[in-house]
C-alpha cells in the first residue's frame, strides 16, 4: 500500500488507498505525522496561565474525529426518529451539537481516567468505546443494552472503560466524581476523573460542596461545565448571577474553552489532566450548543429562535469545522468524507435493526440487583401477579394468590 508522506504545509494530495482492491475498506489515513493547528479562539483562564493555542494533531486523528462525530450525530438523529416512533419511551436527551466535547476529551485521556456525566450521556458512552448496538438496545429497554435495559437513556454505564454514567438527578454526579478522584489519588493510579455537568447544574449547592472538598484535599478532579447556555428552557443569564462558570470555582483555577472545536477541547483536557495530577482540581467550561431541545418533549424553539439554532449550525458546527480542516489540509476529499458519512449511516441503521430484534428483559429482572444476592433480602418471584410483596424484618411472605 502506498502511503504518501504528508508534511505539515504540504499541498500534495494524499493518495487514497484506492490502490487496494479492498473496495469495502475505509479510506482512513493512518498517517500520524503531526500537524499543528491553531484553535479558532484563545483560551480564557482564571488563576492559571492558559495552554497554547497551537494543538498538535495528525491526519489519522482528524479523520477519526470526523468519523466518530459523524457516528455520534447519526446516532442521535436515529434516536430522535426511534423516539417519535415510540420505540424509545420515557426520556431521551440528545447530544447533537456537543459532540466535540466528548471526542476532544477522549483524545486527551486514557480509558483509566474516569468520566462521569449527566443524563445527556449517549455520545459520551460511545466515546468511551461503547457500541451502537448496546446503546440502541438500552434506549429501547432491551436486555442487550449496556445497563441490561434497566437504566434507559439516562443511565448508560461502561465499567471496563471507567465510564460511571449517566445520572438523572441534576448535579448529583459532581460529588460522586470527586469521590472517584479521591479513590484514584488514594490508589496512586495516576489517573484523573472528568466530572461533567451543565450550566443548569452549576447552581446546585452540592457542586460547591464537592469543589471545596476537592480543592481542600487536592483531588485529581477535572470539573467540566458543558455550557450549552440553556438549562432546559432557562437561558444562562436568567439563572446565574455569574455565567462565567469557569470562574465559579473562586479558589479553583478555571479555563474557558470553545466547546465546538474538538482540537481546543483536546488541548484543554490534556492541560487539565496534567494540572489535576499535580495540583488538584480545575474547572473547564466548554462553550457548546445543543441543536435539539432539552429532551424529546421539548421542541427547543420556544425559548430560543430558530435563527439562533441555524446560525450556530452554520458557523460553529463541530463536524463541519473538522471537515473544513481535513479538506484544507488535503487529508481527504469532500467525496470521501461524504462516503464516510454514508457508511456511518449504514452502520447506525444496522445497529438499530439489530437492537429492534433484541428481547426485552425477563419479568424477574424487576427484582434483581436491588440488593446483593445472598444477604437476606430475597424476593420470590413467581409471576408478575404472584410474588412476594415485601421482605421486611419479619420475613413474612405476603403472596397475592390467584384462584
Amino acid at each position: 500500500m502506498a502511503l504518501s508522506r504528508l508534511s505539515s504545509r504540504s499541498t500534495t494530495l494524499l493518495q487514497p488507498l484506492a490502490t487496494t482492491s479492498l473496495l469495502r475498506r475505509r479510506h482512513i489515513s493512518t498517517d500520524t505525522t503531526p500537524i499543528t493547528v491553531e484553535t479558532s479562539l484563545p483560551f480564557t483562564s482564571h488563576l492559571i496561565s492558559p495552554p497554547s493555542r497551537a494543538v498538535e494533531t495528525s491526519s489519522q486523528e482528524l479523520l477519526s474525529f470526523f468519523r466518530d462525530m459523524a457516528l455520534m450525530r447519526r446516532m442521535e438523529i436515529a434516536a430522535d426518529s426511534l423516539y417519535k416512533a415510540k420505540l424509545i419511551r420515557g426520556f431521551c436527551h440528545l447530544y447533537d451539537g456537543q459532540e466535540a466535547v466528548a471526542i476532544g476529551m477522549e483524545a486527551a485521556i486514557t480509558k483509566r481516567d474516569a468520566i462521569i456525566t449527566s443524563y445527556r450521556d449517549h455520545c459520551t458512552f460511545l466515546g468511551r468505546g461503547g457500541g451502537l448496538f448496546e446503546a440502541f438496545s438500552e434506549l429501547m429497554g432491551r436486555t442487550t443494552g449496556c445497563s441490561k435495559g434497566k437504566g434507559g437513556s439516562m443511565h448508560f454505564y461502561k465499567k471496563d472503560a471507567s465510564f460511571y454514567g449517566g445520572h438523572g438527578i441534576v448535579g448529583a454526579q459532581v460529588p460522586l466524581g470527586c469521590g472517584l478522584a479521591f479513590a484514584q489519588k488514594y490508589s496512586k493510579e495516576e489517573a484523573v476523573t472528568f466530572t461533567l455537568y451543565g450550566d443548569g447544574a452549576a447552581n446546585q449547592g452540592q457542586l460547591f460542596e464537592a469543589l471545596n472538598i476537592a480543592a481542600l484535599w487536592d483531588l485529581p478532579a477535572v470539573l467540566v461545565c458543558e455550557n450549552n447556555h440553556y438549562g432546559m428552557g432557562t437561558a444562562e443569564w436568567r439563572s446565574a448571577k455569574s455565567p462565567a462558570y469557569f470562574k465559579r470555582g473562586d479558589y479553583v483555577p478555571g479555563l474557558k474553552v470553545d466547546g465546538m472545536d474538538a482540537l481546543a477541547v483536546k488541548q484543554a483536557c490534556k492541560f487539565a489532566k496534567e494540572h489535576a495530577l499535580k495540583n488538584g482540581p480545575i474547572i473547564l467550561e466548554m462553550d457548546t450548543y445543543r441543536y435539539h431541545g432539552h429532551s424529546m418533549s421539548d421542541p427547543g424553539s420556544t425559548y430560543r429562535t430558530r435563527d439562533e439554532i441555524s446560525g450556530v449550525r452554520q458557523v460553529r458546527d463541530p463536524i463541519d469545522r473538522v471537515r473544513k480542516l481535513i479538506i484544507a489540509h488535503d487529508i481527504a476529499t469532500e467525496k470521501e468524507l461524504k462516503d464516510m458519512e454514508k457508511e456511518v449511516r449504514k452502520e447506525v441503521d444496522a445497529a438499530v435493526a439489530q437492537a429492534k430484534e433484541s428481547p426485552i428483559p425477563e419479568p424477574s429482572e424487576l427484582f434483581s440487583n436491588i440488593y446483593v444476592k445472598g444477604f437476606g433480602a430475597e424476593v420470590n418471584f413467581i409471576s408478575p401477579l404472584e410474588t412476594t410483596l415485601s421482605f421486611g424484618a419479619d420475613r413474612k411472605e405476603l403472596r397475592a394468590t390467584l384462584p
Binding site: M154, V170, N203, Q204, P384, L385, F391, A400
Partner: protein, 391 residues
C-alpha cells in the same frame, strides 16, 4: 388585626358529617358557575385566586414564569407581575429554604418543585427547618405560609426519576401537613386550603391526572377542609382507602367487585398528615375489612401507618388481615412499570377481597389484556356528586 387573621382563615367552613357528602365552603351555592376543567387548569385557577386574594403571596420555582412544565402556573406572571411570580435557578434546597424564609416574614410562599423525584435535596430544609420552626422558637416564628407543590406518581413512561411517590417520607415529620387531591375539583379546594392553612403544607399533585381528569369545577373561591377524609362510595363488605390517582384504579376494582356482589366502601384520605382516623375507623367497624392501596413501595409506605392504627382501633371488628396493594419493593422501574404498579387486578385478587367467607372468584385477565387496558383505557370515575371523565 382582622386583616392579619383574615389572611390565614379567610373562609369559615362548617364541619359536617364526613359520610357521603362533599365538604364545600358554606359560601358556595349550587347555582354558582361551574366549568369543565382538567387538573392543571383547576390548580391554575386556585393559584390565580390565592394570589388575587392575598397581595403578599408569591409563586416561584423552576420554569413557573412561562407557565411551568405542566402548565399549572400559566398566566400568573403576566397577571401578577414578575415580582410575585418568578423563576428560580435549578436548586431545590435553595428554593425551599428561600420559601421558608419568605414565609417566616409573614408571606405566603407557594413553591413548586418540578417533579417530586427532585424534592430530596430540599428534604433537609423541609424536615429540619420548616417542620420545626414554630416548635423550636416557642411560637415566636413560623413558616405557616409555606406550601410546597410537586407533581408525583407514575405516568406510564416516567422511569426512575419522573414517577416517584415520596409521600411516606413526609408523613413521618410532625410539623408539616401532606395533602394529595384526587381530582380537579378536589385539587382546587384543597390547594386553596393548603395555601391558607397556617402550617407548612406539602401538596402532591398526581401528574397522571393533569390532563386525563376532567371535572366540573366551581369557578368561585372555595376551600375543602384538610384532615377530613371523604367516603366517595358507600358499601358494606369492605373498606378501601387510597389517595390521588390510585383512587381511579380502586374505583375500577370496586366496580368489578360489584359485579361479583361485593359492595365496597371507598374512602379518599385527601390529607395524609394528619389523617382522618375517625372516618376510616367508623368505616372499618362497619365493614370489618380494610384494603389500602398506593403506588409507593409497600414496605414503609403510608399504608403501613393506616394498617397499624386501624388494627389498634378496630382489632375485634376485623374479619380479615388488613391488605395492602401497593407498589413493589423495587426502585421505580423503566420497562417493568406495568408489573410494578398496583393495578385493579391486584386489588381484586388480594386476600381481603377474596376472603374464603365470601367464596368469590374473579376472572383475572391475561397480562397482555390488562397491560393494554392500563395504557389505553378510558375509565369513568363516579363520585357521589359529580362525574369525572378520563380521556
Amino acid at each position: 388585626m382582622a386583616s392579619l387573621l383574615g389572611r390565614f382563615c379567610r373562609k369559615l367552613v362548617v364541619p359536617g358529617s364526613a359520610h357521603g357528602s362533599r365538604m364545600i365552603s358554606t359560601t358556595a351555592c349550587d347555582s354558582e358557575a361551574v366549568k369543565s376543567l382538567n387538573l392543571y387548569s383547576a390548580i391554575n385557577q386556585a393559584l390565580h385566586i390565592a394570589l388575587e386574594t392575598d397581595p403578599r403571596s408569591y409563586v416561584f420555582g423552576e420554569d413557573v414564569g412561562f407557565g411551568g412544565v405542566f402548565r399549572c402556573t400559566t398566566g400568573l406572571a403576566e397577571r401578577f407581575g414578575k415580582n410575585r411570580v418568578f423563576n428560580t435557578p435549578l436548586c431545590e434546597q435553595g428554593i425551599v429554604g428561600f420559601g421558608i424564609g419568605l414565609a417566616a416574614m409573614g408571606n405566603r410562599a407557594v413553591v413548586e418543585i418540578q417533579f417530586a423525584d427532585y424534592i430530596y435535596p430540599a428534604f433537609d430544609q423541609i424536615v429540619n427547618e420548616a417542620a420545626k420552626f414554630r416548635y423550636r422558637s416557642g411560637n415566636q416564628f413560623n413558616c405557616g405560609g409555606l406550601t410546597i407543590r410537586a407533581p408525583y406518581g407514575a405516568v406510564g413512561h416516567g422511569g426512575h426519576y419522573h414517577s416517584q411517590s415520596p409521600e411516606a417520607f413526609f408523613c413521618h415529620v410532625p410539623g408539616i401537613k401532606v395533602v394529595i387531591p384526587r381530582s380537579p375539583r378536589e385539587a382546587k379546594g384543597l390547594l386553596l386550603s393548603s395555601i391558607r392553612d397556617p402550617n407548612p403544607v406539602v401538596f402532591f399533585e398526581p401528574k397522571w391526572l393533569y390532563r386525563q381528569a376532567v371535572e366540573e369545577v366551581p369557578e368561585h373561591d372555595y376551600m375543602i377542609p384538610l384532615s377530613q377524609a371523604e367516603v366517595i362510595r358507600e358499601g358494606n363488605d369492605i373498606t378501601l382507602v387510597g389517595w390521588g390517582a390510585q383512587l381511579t384504579v380502586m374505583e375500577q376494582a370496586c366496580l368489578d367487585a360489584e359485579k361479583e356482589g361485593i359492595s365496597c366502601e371507598l374512602i379518599d384520605l385527601k390529607t395524609l398528615l394528619p389523617w382522618d382516623k375517625e372516618t376510616v375507623e367508623a368505616s372499618v367497624k362497619k365493614t370489618g375489612r380494610l384494603l389500602i392501596s398506593h403506588e409507593a413501595p409497600v414496605t414503609g409506605g403510608f399504608g403501613a401507618e393506616i394498617s397499624a392504627t386501624i388494627l389498634e382501633r378496630c382489632f375485634l371488628k376485623l374479619e380479615a388481615p388488613v391488605s395492602r396493594v401497593c407498589g413493589l419493593d423495587t426502585p421505580f422501574p423503566l420497562v417493568f412499570e406495568p408489573f410494578y404498579m398496583p393495578t385493579k387486578n391486584k386489588a381484586s385478587s388480594s386476600s381481603s377481597l377474596s376472603s374464603p367467607l365470601k367464596k368469590k372468584h374473579y376472572l383475572i385477565m391475561g397480562l397482555h389484556v390488562w397491560c393494554r387496558y392500563w395504557m389505553q383505557s378510558s375509565p369513568l370515575l363516579i363520585t357521589s356528586h359529580s362525574i369525572c371523565f378520563f380521556r
